[in-house]
Symmetry: C2
Subunit: 450 residues, 2 copies
Amino acid sequence: MKKIYLNPSDMPTQWYNILADLPQLAPPISPATGKPATPEEMLAIFPGPILEQEMSAQRHIDIPEEVLDILTIWRPSPVVRAERLEKALGTKCRIYYKYEGGSPAGSHKTNTAVPQAYYNKISGINKLTTETGAGQWGSALSYATSIFEMSLRVYMVKVSYFQKPYRKSFMNMFGAEVIPSPSNLTNAGRAELERDPQSHGSLGLAISEAVEEAASNSDTNYALGSVLNHVIIHQSLIGLEAKKQMEIGGDYPDMVFASCGGGSNFGGIAAPFVKDKMDGKKVECVAMEPISCPTLTKGEYTFDYGDVGKMTPIMQMYTLGHDFMPPAIHAGGLRYHGDSPIVSAMYKQGLIDARSIGQLDVFKYGTLFAKTEGIIPAPESSHAIAGAAKEALACDERGESKSLLFCLSGHGHFDMASYDAYYEGKLEDYSYPEEEIEKSLRSLPKVDLD
Amino acid sequence: MKKIYLNPSDMPTQWYNILADLPQLAPPISPATGKPATPEEMLAIFPGPILEQEMSAQRHIDIPEEVLDILTIWRPSPVVRAERLEKALGTKCRIYYKYEGGSPAGSHKTNTAVPQAYYNKISGINKLTTETGAGQWGSALSYATSIFEMSLRVYMVKVSYFQKPYRKSFMNMFGAEVIPSPSNLTNAGRAELERDPQSHGSLGLAISEAVEEAASNSDTNYALGSVLNHVIIHQSLIGLEAKKQMEIGGDYPDMVFASCGGGSNFGGIAAPFVKDKMDGKKVECVAMEPISCPTLTKGEYTFDYGDVGKMTPIMQMYTLGHDFMPPAIHAGGLRYHGDSPIVSAMYKQGLIDARSIGQLDVFKYGTLFAKTEGIIPAPESSHAIAGAAKEALACDERGESKSLLFCLSGHGHFDMASYDAYYEGKLEDYSYPEEEIEKSLRSLPKVDLD
């Protein structure tokens, strides 16, 4: 069976919350006090129902009817047997991919944008702020706020704002206001512009700007597209559907691959399989990250800020240090210094594996996938393709035949410039930036958990 | 039922050839002699199996196994009930769309690119030439030639070459060579460059260049993405699938809408429904064309060249005259002076209807569709959306409730610049260019059918 569809009526109606099955995570810490953040501090930027999910120990959480209704515009997403890729690799492994690129914004990000907009709306909030790097998350949230007739301001990392004008067009089309960051609308932005008037911006700084605006306006909340627990919970749909589909296809994956930046795409597909693993099933989930930003494979498990401006709660996670500025690789969605506390805990517990990969391999296998399977992948997603493809070849060398599943988290229709750069030979493999990371890890915050 | 899928195993295994059910069409006429083209003349640029289909009177034609195998990478395509669009319009009509944008190149063009590449390959041809305007057809054929390991040279209208660099990147990625037209590689290109060294090019001229190269090299054939009979036959899959899907959904369309440039998308979805109409069923198929290039609604049914350079066979069709140069509207795929002989004959026979529409309405309903259904449509496809939406509103005024089906022939991910232009108020409604058409219709070729 080449493509495995689920009917909308067979779509899961509950999210899976892996917090119920993990040892309790450390609470988010207030950057102001160094002590666990109070509900009041969190409610300044998040609505009640989102905070509740963030702390929930409930294993299964009902998806509201209104959210399901919108998700079924593009869900369930297909699982596809990558027969032509297998043939091109000459592998005896079975390779499947779960394709999230059919969503309105072209990636898995819409899965959490819709419930986040919904929970804010029913909590009386009509205005959201957020940040975006490559533009995927800003696009997804602009679609969701458009559906619920809310207003949205997106702080877009300045270098992307000018390099990816069509992502800006996308957000404008769905009614969002897009501001290049650093901007002079916030203290964080003004400080950076004072330091360097030509600053290109960074994801961490754009987060600071968006959080600052939400925290200082009572009618405005903030939404984040990755990292936080509720985001991983919303993305669990990917793994829940994939499990059903693999069962329909009469197979079960020995290994599951997904790219990992903040962790929402990886956590989303992995969590339901990690639950299987805890229940004794044999399955290995592998987070694929860029060599140039190797948070899990080379970072430290500790407490750190989520942003450069130290505005966000401090979280226990794998981090390269909040000051870490990765080289400008094209997979903008994976250039984050930290990692989701849930994904970090799973890694710390030995429940998942992580591997890093250079961008030449990423583009090599990404273009092979395009030519064989007919979908141009986002460079972020190509990390997962490359992970699965290299594993397949390694299996062949060892004389093994495995079932490999990966998440194709988005299409690359807005990333053609990076393919041009690849074909023009302009991309190089950055080596692991050891000194940068060591330096950055020296400025971790102090935390008082008692 | 919101989305109606067909399993790949339920995909039609034969194309429908409406030539079997229409009065015999006039043969293609040689531009050299003014008499019916000889097989030798046609075989200079097309392979035998394609020519056979071009002239076939066989009602159902088997789809080769190798072609089916590739088509099922993205087919069958879904039929979707546009519930949110209906709600936004406040209509009592039921609106469905058949979505062709999930294909590798993002439009219906891939449906014919694959069999055309295949038939050339099995005829011993390893090199193709073609032209592309907006880039959809060039992208589709580059995908298909990549699959069959053939080489491809695409003459891309110069103004698009520079305005749509990512379409060029797409074709390069799949191994095609992209040449801005006019080029100095052909006599037709050199003549135009002599006339105007700054020439922006046109689709008609790019066709001349591609045909000239194929005609003067025995190892090279030419492939066309629309107009010709075999293309309409290949695209009949759209209508055949849609009929099955509407039946599964328990409905049958009162009206079917599709945009119409050369006619492949319209002819593809319409032909199987026109057959129903000939068999006594009540269904109305409407070809939607731009006011600025109103081939069916304002053209003449006569014999004309398919290109500016008078290289192609002369065909009996609706035409605005091969010299007609439409204003630069953004739906580049609809800027063609002629129309498919099959579609022209259906219109002449009263089997279909045609309407023209201005681009402000096209973008108005296109953006409404994006916001409600979550897919950014290609501007070409938005002609169909607008046709169906305006019909729905007209039905409501008349107190009728109809079932309306349209073909969403492609996504607009590579057309964001035209959405920017719309939101910036830079688009205008061109009026019907009456004098231009009158002038252009004065230079029709002489034809001798005896």
